[in-house]
C-alpha cells in the first residue's frame, strides 16, 4: 500500500492541474483581486497636495462613492493612463481622488500642471505607508470605494477605455443601484 502513495499523490496533483486548465479557460489569470475587496478601506488621513495644512481622511469622504487613483510623476505608465482619465473622469459620475504615491510634491505639481488635473482632490502619500495598508502593488492602481467606505473594485495597472467600459462603469452602476 505504501508504495502506492506516490501514485496517489500524483493523481491528486494531476487533478489539480486539470482543474487549473479548466479554470483558466473561464478566468483571466492576470486579475489578482486585492484581498481587501469587499472589506472596509483602511483608515487614512493624508494631506492635500496643494495645501498640506488640510487633510483628507476616510471619514471625510464617507457618504458618497468615490474613486481613488494611485499615480506618481515618476511612473511611466501613469503618463499613458493620464489622457484617459482627462477625457473620462467627469463622465463617471463619482469623484476621482488622486493618490500621489511616493512622490516629491514639486514634481507632482509640475506633472499635473503639464498634463492637466483630472482629480477633484489630490492627496499625497510621500512615505507610501498608507499605500501599504491599501495593498498598493505599484502605480497606477484604481480603487472604487462605496458610500460606507468599503472597497468594491480594484484595478491593478492603467485604466483603459475598455477597462472603464467593461469593468468600472458596471461596478459604479451597481453601486448607484444599491444606493437609496
Amino acid at each position: 500500500m505504501s508504495r502506492l502513495l506516490p501514485f496517489i499523490g500524483f493523481v491528486l496533483l494531476a487533478a489539480l492541474l486539470g482543474f487549473g486548465i479548466w479554470w483558466n479557460t473561464g478566468h483571466d489569470p492576470r486579475t489578482v483581486p486585492s484581498p481587501l475587496i469587499d472589506k472596509p478601506a483602511p483608515d487614512f488621513a493624508l494631506p492635500e497636495l496643494d495645501d498640506p495644512s488640510k487633510t483628507v481622511s476616510k471619514a471625510s469622504l464617507l457618504g458618497k462613492p468615490y474613486l481613488v487613483n494611485v499615480f506618481a510623476s515618476w511612473c511611466y505608465v501613469c503618463g499613458e493612463e493620464h489622457p484617459v482619465l482627462m477625457t473620462q473622469a467627469n463622465r463617471l459620475g463619482v469623484p476621482l481622488v488622486g493618490y500621489n504615491y511616493k512622490d516629491a510634491p514639486g514634481d507632482a505639481k509640475a506633472w499635473l500642471a503639464d498634463h492637466g488635473n483630472p482629480y477633484s482632490v489630490v492627496i499625497a502619500d510621500r512615505s507610501g505607508r498608507t499605500a501599504m495598508d491599501f495593498g498598493v502593488y505599484g502605480a497606477p492602481e484604481t480603487y472604487l470605494i462605496d458610500a460606507k467606505g468599503v472597497i468594491r473594485y480594484k484595478r491593478i495597472g492603467p485604466l483603459t477605455p475598455e477597462v472603464i467600459r467593461q469593468q468600472l462603469e458596471p461596478a459604479i452602476a451597481a453601486l448607484k443601484k444599491e444606493a437609496p
Partner: protein, 659 residues
C-alpha cells in the same frame, strides 16, 4: 519548400521514435534479439531527422523566411544573425524542438557509451527514451508546428522578445534543457529496471555520470538565468521564487538528492526503491516544469505565450508518463529492493537525512508554486504565497543539510567512527565561531551576515580538512579520484554560495533616487554623479544612455552607462550597468524621466551596492563544475564492472587513518 521538408523530417522522426520504443520493448519481453537490436539504429535515425528539422528551422531564420509563422513572429530584418540563431528556441515551438534535439543527443550518447549494458536492459532503456520522444514529437507536430506557414507572407517579421536578446539568456534555455532532459537517462534506467524486475549495482554505476552531468547542466542553466534576471530586470534581485524559476529549481533539488541516493545504491546496494523513486521524481518535475511554463496555468513574470489546449496535451502526457511510472513502481518495486543494513551513525544515514530534506524542500516549493491553484480549487479566493513563505521555510529545511554537509565524507559506510567525527566537528565549530567573531566587527553586527560567515566556514572547513587528510594519507595519484574531487568542489560551492547569499542579502544598500544632471549620491563610500543622458543606437534598438561617474574618497573610480533600450514595436527593456567585483557589485538601473518631455532633466535612478553578490553565482559554478568533474570519473565508464561492491574508495580505513 524547405520548411515542408522540416515538417516531413519531424514526421519521420516520430515514426522512428515509435519503432524505437515499441519494438525493443516487445523484443525484451519475448527475448527476441532482432527486435531488441532495432533500438540503436532507430535512435540514430531519429536523431538525424530531428537535427535536420532543427537545422531547417535555423536556416529559415538565417534567410528571413517570413512565410514561416514562427520565423515571422520571432525575428525581423534588423535582428543580428546570432540572435536569429537564438530565436530558434526563443518561443514555444522552437524550444520544444530544442528539447527533442537534446533528448536525441542524450539518447545517441547513451546508445554509444552504454554498449556494455546487458542487451535486454539497454533495449528497455532506449525504448523508454523513445517513448518520451514520441510524446514530445507528437506534441510538436499536432499542437505546436514550428513550420506552419503564414500567408500572405509579411514583408518584415515582429521581433524576438527583447528580454531574450542578451548573451546570458541565449544560453539559459539550452543549458536548462540539457539538465531537464538529462534526468531522462536516470529515469529510463529506473523504468527499465522495474520492467525487468531487477536492478544491478553496476547499472546504477553507469547511470550516475549521466545524472551528475545533467545536474551540472541544470545548475549552469539556473545560474545563467539568475544572473540574467539580476543584470536585466533592473531590480537587483537574483531569485524571485517565481513559478518559472521554481519549475527549474524543483528538479535541481531532487536531482541533488538523486546524485547522493545513486551513490548509496551503487556502493552499498541499499535504498534501491528510493533511488528509483527519486529518478522518477526528478524527470517528472522536469516535465512538470515544462507544463507549468507552457500551459499558462500559473502566471509569472515570465510572460510566455500559453495555450490551454497545449496545457491539456502536456497534462495527458504527464499523466501517462508519471502516472504510468509511479504505478509501475507500486507494482514492481518490491522485486528490486535489497542492500545492506547500516548503523545510525553512518554515511548512509547522513546522506539519507540530506536526501529527505532536499526532497521535502522540493515538495515545499511545489506546494508554494501550486498554492494559487489550490486556492482557486478550494474556493479560498486568489491567494499566492510569495517570497515570505519560501524565505522562511527553505532556509529552515536546508539548515540540517548545511550542518551535515562537511561531515559526509568523514563518515564511513555502514558504521561511523564516532571518535574521528568528534574531532572534525570540534575543529569546524571552532573555525566557524572564530571567523564569525572576527566578521562581526566588519559587518556592523548584522546577524544574518555573521551567520553567513559562520555557515560558510563550517562547510568550507570540513571540506578543506578532508582535502588535507587525503593529501597526507593517500599515495600520489590516488588522492583525489574525479568522483571525490567533484564532490569536494560541489560542497565547496555550497560554502561560497552561502557567503554570497547571506552577505549580499544583509549588507546590500539600495537607493531609489531622483537625480538631475550634476546631482550626486553617496552609498557605502562610493559617490555617484549623474552626468545626463545621451542617445545611442544598437543594431536593432535605440536607447537613452545615462552617464554615471563614480568616485571614491575623492578619486575617480569609473564610469557606468545604464540604458533604457527601445526595441522595434516600442518594447522597452532596461539594461542595467553593473560594475562587478569579487567583494562587491555596484549596480545602476535607469528608471523613467521625471518629465517625459524633457530627457535632459531629472531621471529616476536605482543605485545598489551589493557586497559579495557575485559569490552566489560563483558557488553555483563550483557546484556545476563538481557535477561535471564527478561525471568524468573513470570508474563510471563501466570497463571495471567488478569494482567496489562493499569496498570503500571514499574513506580510508581507520587503521590507516591512525597509523
Amino acid at each position: 519548400m524547405t520548411p515542408e521538408l522540416g515538417q516531413l523530417a519531424l514526421i519521420l522522426a516520430l515514426l522512428l521514435a515509435l519503432a524505437q520504443s515499441v519494438l525493443p520493448l516487445l523484443g525484451a519481453w519475448r527475448g527476441n534479439r532482432a527486435l531488441m537490436a532495432v533500438a540503436r539504429p532507430a535512435a540514430a535515425g531519429q536523431a538525424v531527422f530531428v537535427a535536420l528539422a532543427f537545422a531547417i528551422l535555423a536556416w529559415s531564420f538565417l534567410h528571413f523566411d517570413f512565410s514561416v509563422r514562427y520565423v515571422a513572429d520571432n525575428s525581423n530584418l534588423e535582428l543580428p544573425w546570432y540572435y536569429r540563431i537564438a530565436a530558434v528556441w526563443g518561443a514555444h515551438e522552437g524550444s520544444l524542438l530544442l528539447w527533442i534535439l537534446i533528448l536525441n543527443v542524450w539518447t545517441v550518447a547513451l546508445a554509444i557509451f552504454g554498449r556494455n549494458l546487458p542487451e535486454a536492459f539497454a533495449a528497455r532503456v532506449l525504448a523508454v527514451l523513445g517513448l518520451v520522444s514520441v510524446g514530445f514529437l507528437s506534441f510538436t507536430i499536432f499542437t505546436s508546428d514550428p513550420f506552419a506557414r503564414l500567408l500572405p507572407m509579411p514583408m518584415n517579421g515582429a521581433d524576438l522578445n527583447p528580454v531574450l536578446q542578451d548573451p546570458g539568456m541565449t544560453f539559459h534555455p539550452p543549458m536548462l534543457y540539457m539538465g531537464y532532459v538529462g534526468f531522462s537517462v536516470a529515469f529510463a534506467f529506473s523504468i527499465a529496471a522495474l520492467l525487468g524486475g531487477s536492478m544491478e549495482q553496476a547499472w546504477v554505476r553507469q547511470a550516475r555520470p549521466w545524472t551528475n552531468a545533467a545536474w551540472g547542466f541544470l545548475t549552469c542553466g539556473i545560474v545563467a538565468g539568475s544572473w540574467w534576471a539580476y543584470a536585466e530586470l533592473g531590480w537587483g534581485g537574483w531569485w524571485f521564487w517565481d513559478p518559472v524559476e521554481n519549475a527549474s529549481f524543483m528538479p535541481w533539488l531532487v536531482g541533488a538528492a538523486l546524485i547522493h541516493a545513486q551513490a548509496i545504491t551503487e556502493k552499498r546496494g541499499s535504498l534501491r526503491a528510493w533511488t528509483i523513486l527519486l529518478s522518477i521524481f526528478a524527470f517528472s518535475l522536469s516535465l512538470l516544469g515544462t507544463f507549468l511554463v507552457r500551459s499558462g496555468v500559473l502566471t509569472s513574470v515570465h510572460a510566455f505565450a500559453s495555450d490551454p489546449r497545449r496545457g491539456l496535451y502536456i497534462l495527458c502526457f504527464l499523466a501517462v508518463v508519471v502516472g504510468g511510472s509511479l504505478l509501475l513502481y507500486a507494482l514492481r518495486a518490491p522485486k528490486v529492493v535489497g542492500g545492506k543494513p547500516f548503523a545510525v551513525v553512518s554515511r548512509e544515514t547522513a546522506l539519507l537525512v540530506g536526501n529527505l530534506m532536499l526532497a521535502v524542500a522540493a515538495a515545499m516549493v511545489l506546494l508554494g508554486t501550486l498554492f494559487p491553484l489550490l486556492g482557486d480549487a478550494l474556493h479560498l479566493g486568489k491567494v499566492s504565497v510569495g517570497p515570505p513563505y519560501f524565505g522562511l521555510l527553505f532556509p529552515l529545511l536546508m539548515t540540517p543539510v548545511v550542518l551535515l554537509l562537511p561531515l559526509g565524507p568523514w563518515l564511513r559506510w555502514g558504521k561511523g567512527d564516532g571518535g574521528l567525527l568528534k574531532g572534525v566537528l570540534a575543529r569546524c565549530a571552532v573555525a566557524a565561531l572564530a571567523c564569525a567573531v572576527v566578521a562581526a566587527f566588519f559587518v556592523h553586527g548584522e546577524p544574518k551576515a555573521i551567520l553567513g560567515v559562520a555557515a560558510a566556514v563550517w562547510v568550507g572547513a570540513g571540506v578543506l580538512l578532508y582535502v588535507i587528510k587525503r593529501w597526507r594519507e593517500m599515495p600520489r595519484g590516488r588522492r583525489y579520484p574525479a568522483e571525490m574531487a567533484g564532490m569536494l568542489l560541489a560542497h565547496l560551492g555550497v560554502a561560497v554560495f552561502l557567503v554570497g547569499v547571506l552577505l549580499s542579502e544583509s549588507l546590500s544598500v539600495t537607493r531609489d533616487v531622483r537625480m538631475a544632471p550634476g546631482d550626486t549620491q553617496t552609498i557605502a563610500g562610493y559617490r555617484f554623479r549623474f552626468d545626463g543622458i545621451k542617445q545611442t543606437v544598437g543594431p536593432n534598438w535605440h536607447a537613452e544612455q545615462a552617464t554615471v561617474t563614480v568616485s571614491r574618497d575623492g578619486r575617480p573610480y569609473g564610469t557606468m552607462h545604464p540604458q533604457k533600450r527601445t526595441y522595434p514595436h516600442d518594447r522597452v527593456q532596461t539594461e542595467s550597468a553593473v560594475d562587478a567585483g569579487l567583494t562587491r557589485d555596484l549596480y545602476v538601473a535607469l528608471g523613467e524621466p521625471m518629465d517625459a518631455g524633457n530627457l535632459q532633466g531629472a531621471w529616476a535612478l536605482r543605485l545598489y551596492y551589493k557586497p559579495f553578490v557575485r559569490w552566489i553565482w560563483g558557488g553555483g559554478l563550483f557546484m556545476m563544475l563538481g557535477g561535471f568533474v564527478c561525471a568524468c570519473d573513470r570508474r563510471f565508464r563501466g570497463k571495471r564492472v567488478a569494482a567496489a561492491e562493499g569496498t570503500d574508495e571514499a574513506v580510508p580505513l581507520p587503521r590507516e587513518a591512525r597509523a
